[in-house]
């Protein structure tokens, strides 16, 4: 398991289950990771891989029921926040963890002015007066690159473009100076040129504020450009994890390797035919006893069907500190 060290967030063995009419869905299975101060952790996976549910469940944002966090620990600021009362958790969500969602249109309230929505957490969590909060809100808007901030405070969300709305969302998430910013597909709904703007902004903010960021995405390109470490998720578990350069240069898990090959290149040689990962991502109706990727894996052998592989280090470093993979197949020898 990742040791604490200078980790601002330490997640150990997190398990989340959804109870549906069709039975249970094991969305998150024993996910462990940590986040160091000032670091950007990229989380990659397809829809249903459990990447969003992991982040939502660790700060209690999932509706329960149907969701149920069935195990694990989440250490943040010296406390296991899975075991604290709801009122304290609300404090954690506002002040320690900021969240930026995928769709800036639906996550801003259309009937309130943007300024009010930025001021709300400041008044609630930081104990500011209205006047103080307004000054701070204008500063925040400037920080995220919105010009003429003072007058923009009185605008409504529909008066902003998609990219501007996402800047407002980031301003709200940053309002209380959080230790951890969780960004769930923050640029997926945006056009590439606007995405480039937002990525530049986040790089710049990291530099200025030094907060730790978790960036969830399905886009390997975005991750390659901004992350320090990458965690690849599939079927509700971490299948590979490591420093960004090592992971892209020498991917170990057959899924990671296939994923990197299935995306056509913008500049490299143009492939006559795209590499395909056959089949569908799984729906985990029970706790997995086998490797969730085995049915689609080109390297699967008998053991993969009977034993869910544990994460093992591939570079000799302690687990979680370096490059690790959850796979029975040894890429180096295969």
């Amino acid at each position: 398991m990742p040791d604490g060290g200078d980790a601002v967030l330490d997640v150990r063995g997190l398990k989340t289950v959804f109870r549906t009419r069709g039975g249970e869905v094991h969305a998150v299975n024993s996910v462990s990771f940590h986040l160091r101060r000032g670091e950007l952790l990229g989380v990659v996976g397809e829809s249903g891989s459990g990447k969003s549910v992991t982040m939502m469940s660790l700060i209690g944002l999932l509706p329960m029921p149907p969701a149920e966090v069935r195990g694990g620990e989440v250490w943040l600021g010296g406390r296991d926040i899975l075991k604290i009362p709801d009122s304290d958790l609300r404090e954690v969500r506002g002040a320690k963890v900021g969240f930026v969602f995928q769709d800036p249109m639906t996550s801003l309230n259309p009937v309130f002015q943007v300024g009010f929505q930025i001021m709300e957490p400041l008044i609630r969590h930081m104990g500011m007066t209205k006047a103080q909060a307004r000054v701070r809100a204008a500063e925040l808007l400037e920080l995220v690159g919105i010009s003429d901030a003072q007058s923009r405070l009185d605008s409504y969300p529909h008066q902003f473009s998609g990219g501007m709305r996402q800047r407002v969302m980031i301003a709200i998430a940053l309002a209380c100076d959080p230790d951890v910013l969780i960004a769930d597909e923050p640029t997926t709904a945006l056009d590439v040129t606007i995405q480039a703007q937002i990525i530049e902004l986040v790089k710049d903010l990291r530099h200025k504020l030094g907060m730790a960021i978790i960036w969830i995405t399905h886009d390997l390109g975005v991750i390659a450009g901004i992350a320090d470490r990458v965690m690849v998720m599939y079927g509700g578990q971490v299948v590979e994890h490591g420093p960004v350069k090592a992971l892209f240069a020498d991917p170990q898990h057959p899924y990671t390797r296939a994923l990197l090959k299935t995306v056509p290149s913008l500049t490299g040689a143009r492939e006559a035919r795209l590499q395909v990962i056959e089949g569908q991502p799984p729906i985990m109706t029970e706790e997995p006893r086998a490797c969730p990727f085995a049915p689609r894996c080109a390297h699967a052998f008998e053991r993969c069907d009977v034993e869910n592989p544990r994460r093992r280090a591939v570079d000799g470093l302690p687990l979680g500190q370096g490059h690790d993979v959850a796979c029975h197949w040894e890429a180096r020898h295969g």
Binding site: G163, G221, A224, S265, E271
Partner: protein, 371 residues
């Protein structure tokens, strides 16, 4: 009965140094804006504002651009799912925009569409066999036995298991639903298919499956595609030539390799530089062009060049005079004042007189079969 419906695409391709299968000239699609109590017509959203291009038989033309640039509107106006405001469209010889309703209905089998969202474009109350069979009932006059045979044939072609013929769309995954949409589009042996963001709603690992299917079908049936997408790396894979749109107009139309190696229009350059690549070393060293601001409203586009408000290379002329799309290198058309060309110096009257007869038709001949 079936043989009559057999695809003719492949043989047709070999026969002829034929003219372009699809010819679009100065296509305009304005959506009126009504305001006030009296709902008076006070303006237009110029979603498509004078677009011209050709697509050769068997070719795939990629149409890229950001949301709101009008690329999907072009696709829909082209096969008259919208009634275009002005312009002309010829598909396999017929002037689509002037066809009478019944003639248009009979023309429909030749031109089909694959939609972005397979969830929304399939009727949830119809089984797979009903969905794929509906165009056959409407247009082919096959008897039920032959129809079922044809449905099975289409399911085989698109990689759908025959056993699922009586299931409903919600029982399928996104990738499979998109296969159903493709099977329906193929049912009547079309010559030309508009693929409107067919992979945008799919997961990365499923996208390649659908793109490979589209390519296989093109090879086998000699199909011609207009492939609309915002995914520039996928367009590089599938398209022979690529048109880059910005605010209702084409900024650049070039052969694929030339465009990706050396984009000429500053917008095409910025767009390509904004695409992140899954390679940390390259990403670390890459010089990215970050465009300032947002796309202007198509209801009130800037005078002159549509891109002049954000262009890093803007000149004085750009804010006053609209650049027309003209050939600046063999096979490459660009609408930008940075590239002087004969066609552009004949301005301003030539734009409507001979919009692109000289450009669209001429240049695309160079790049007929890029495959």
């Amino acid at each position: 009965m079936l043989p009559m419906l057999r695809p003719r695409g492949r043989t047709m391709m070999l026969d002829a140094p034929a003219p372009a299968l699809v010819q679009v000239r100065d296509l305009k699609m304005y959506f009126p804006i009504h305001t006030g109590v009296l709902r008076r017509h006070t303006g237009d959203v110029k979603a498509v504002d004078g677009v011209s291009f050709d697509i050769m038989a068997g070719e795939t033309l990629g149409l890229v651009g950001e949301s709101g640039c009008g690329k999907s509107t072009v696709g829909r106006a082209l096969i008259r799912l919208y009634e275009p405001t002005a312009g002309s469209v010829r598909i396999a010889g017929d002037d689509i925009l002037s066809l009478a309703p019944e003639a248009l209905r009979r023309k429909r089998p030749e031109m089909q569409m694959v939609f972005q969202d397979p969830q929304a474009s399939l009727n949830p109350r119809m089984t797979l066999a009903q969905i794929i069979g509906e165009p056959l009932i409407e247009h082919s006059g096959l008897n039920p036995t032959d129809r079922l045979a044809r449905i099975y044939e289409l399911m085989d072609q698109t990689g759908l298991n025959r056993r699922f013929a009586n299931r409903y769309p919600h029982e399928f995954s996104g990738g499979q639903r998109q296969r159903i949409g493709i099977a329906r589009a193929l049912a009547l042996n079309p010559k030309f298919i508009v693929c409107d963001e067919p992979i945008a709603a799919l997961d990365v690992s499923i996208q390649a499956q659908v793109v490979n299917l589209l390519e296989d079908l093109q090879d086998r049936l000699g199909l011609t595609y207009l492939f609309i997408s915002h995914d520039l790396s996928m367009v590089r894979h599938i398209a022979d030539r690529v048109a880059v749109m910005y605010l209702g107009r084409i900024a650049e139309l070039s052969p694929r390799d030339a465009l990706y190696a050396r984009p000429l229009h500053p917008y095409a350059e910025a767009l390509l530089s904004a695409v992140p690549e899954p390679d940390p070393d390259r990403e670390g060293s890459r010089q990215r062009i970050i465009l300032q601001g947002d796309v202007p409203s198509p209801a009130n586009p800037p005078t002159g060049c549509a891109f002049c408000t954000r262009c890093p290379k803007v000149m004085e002329i750009c804010t006053t005079t609209r650049p027309i799309l003209a050939e600046v290198e063999p096979g490459r058309q660009v609408a930008c004042h940075l590239y002087p060309s004969e066609a552009r110096s004949n301005q301003p009257n030539s734009r409507h007189a001979a919009p692109s007869g000289s450009t669209g038709g001429g240049s695309s001949q160079h790049q007929q079969h890029g495959v």
